[in-house]
């Protein structure tokens, strides 16, 4: 239907993103609880979630701060987790690049895993959409995701330190991260990147300032990119 209105593409975005409430809400709750347990007050916890809106990077920073890693290491490691946002930005640029700057500035703030994943698939499937329809769809995908992220963080921060010890919340973060990564290991390159990262991080765990993680991250990225390049070469040959 080439006659879809921007209103209807917004609605499609809302519908497509609704299932993500189930992922975002527990993750936000976890961040709120873990941040409060680590000693952040309500203002700090909420500002964190509202300014950064990226759970994995936020939990990474929190974990490293709890470990007393130097501030610069905390920032570099957490930003490395968010480097993928630059890839999302590059991948959507051809589709929404011509939109007005204020719209792109807003979209950039809301560029999260869920909105990117849905929009990238949709834009590819519907090349007939106008830039306005694409923007409307993008903001539609945000509506069920980001408000729940803020609210869940708030709920977690309020529950905070009343979480009993037997819940072993120390291990909620590792389990959540593994659960996010494992389904993303779609190709041999992804698996290789993750394996090298694990091996290097364990071998270099003795290094001070969590430097092992930085080396592991870089080694993992290079491995993933190199395996992908070789796989492409082999299938082209």
């Amino acid at each position: 239907m080439p006659t879809e209105t921007t209103k209807s593409t917004f609605g499609q975005g809302v519908r497509d993103a609704s299932p993500f409430i189930l992922v975002v809400a527990p993750f936000g709750l976890l961040f709120g609880v873990v941040a409060t347990e680590a000693g952040l007050n309500l203002l700090e916890t909420m500002t964190f979630s509202i300014l950064v809106i990226a759970g994995a990077a936020q939990l990474t920073a929190l974990q490293l701060m709890t470990d007393n890693a130097p501030t610069i290491i905390v920032i570099i490691s957490a930003l490395a987790v968010n480097l993928r946002m630059a890839m999302y930005s590059a991948s959507l640029a051809p589709y929404i690049g011509p939109a007005p700057l204020w719209q792109r500035a807003c979209a950039a703030y809301f560029l999260v895993d869920q909105s990117y994943g849905l929009a990238a698939l949709k834009y590819e499937a519907r090349p007939d959409w106008t830039v306005r329809q694409r923007m409307a769809y993008f903001f539609g995908t945000i509506a069920p995701v980001c408000p729940f992220w803020y609210l869940a963080t708030l709920a977690g921060a309020l529950i905070g330190s009343s979480v009993p010890d037997w819940l072993a919340l120390d291990f909620a973060m590792p389990i959540t991260f593994i659960a996010l990564i494992a389904p993303a290991l779609r190709t041999r390159a992804h698996v290789a990147a993750a394996l090298i990262s694990i091996i290097v991080a364990l071998i270099l765990a003795f290094l001070p300032y969590n430097l092992g993680l930085l080396v592991a991250g870089i080694a993992g990225m290079i491995t993933g990119a190199e395996v992908e390049r070789r796989t492409a070469e082999r299938s082209a040959a």
Binding site: L22, L51, V52, Y88, I175, I178, L180, T223, A225
Partner: protein, 108 residues
């Protein structure tokens, strides 16, 4: 306890840095394409950093003062297996949590 100044510096740096990453291409570079090798590296940042962050926490959990702990190790392995098998994040978290609590209960 983490000191207040550190928290605010980290929040500000992550807020600005993350926004920059998100804005840089759709905002500044527009619809010009990036070199393939850059995109190829960016694609693997999350799967390269997060496993390296988690692995030491699984093998040497801070909650047990770094002693390798059977319930936590088992929970991590089950989470990996269920994640690879089902590709469903929520189901995977549930499987990991159940394994952890069963393990902690059995270990007393």
């Amino acid at each position: 306890m983490i000191d207040t100044a550190t928290i605010w510096i980290v929040i500000a740096a992550l807020g600005i840095g993350s926004y920059f990453f998100r804005f840089v291409f759709i905002g500044l570079i527009g619809d010009r394409a990036l070199p393939a090798w850059v995109l190829r590296h960016l694609r693997y940042t999350a799967v390269a950093v997060l496993p390296g962050l988690v692995a030491p926490l699984v093998v040497w959990p801070p909650a047990t003062e770094g002693q390798t702990d059977a319930p936590r190790l088992a929970a991590a392995l089950v989470t990996i297996a269920v994640g690879l098998w089902t590709r469903n994040v929520l189901l995977t978290i549930a499987a990991g949590a159940i394994t952890l609590y069963a393990g902690l209960y059995l270990a007393g």
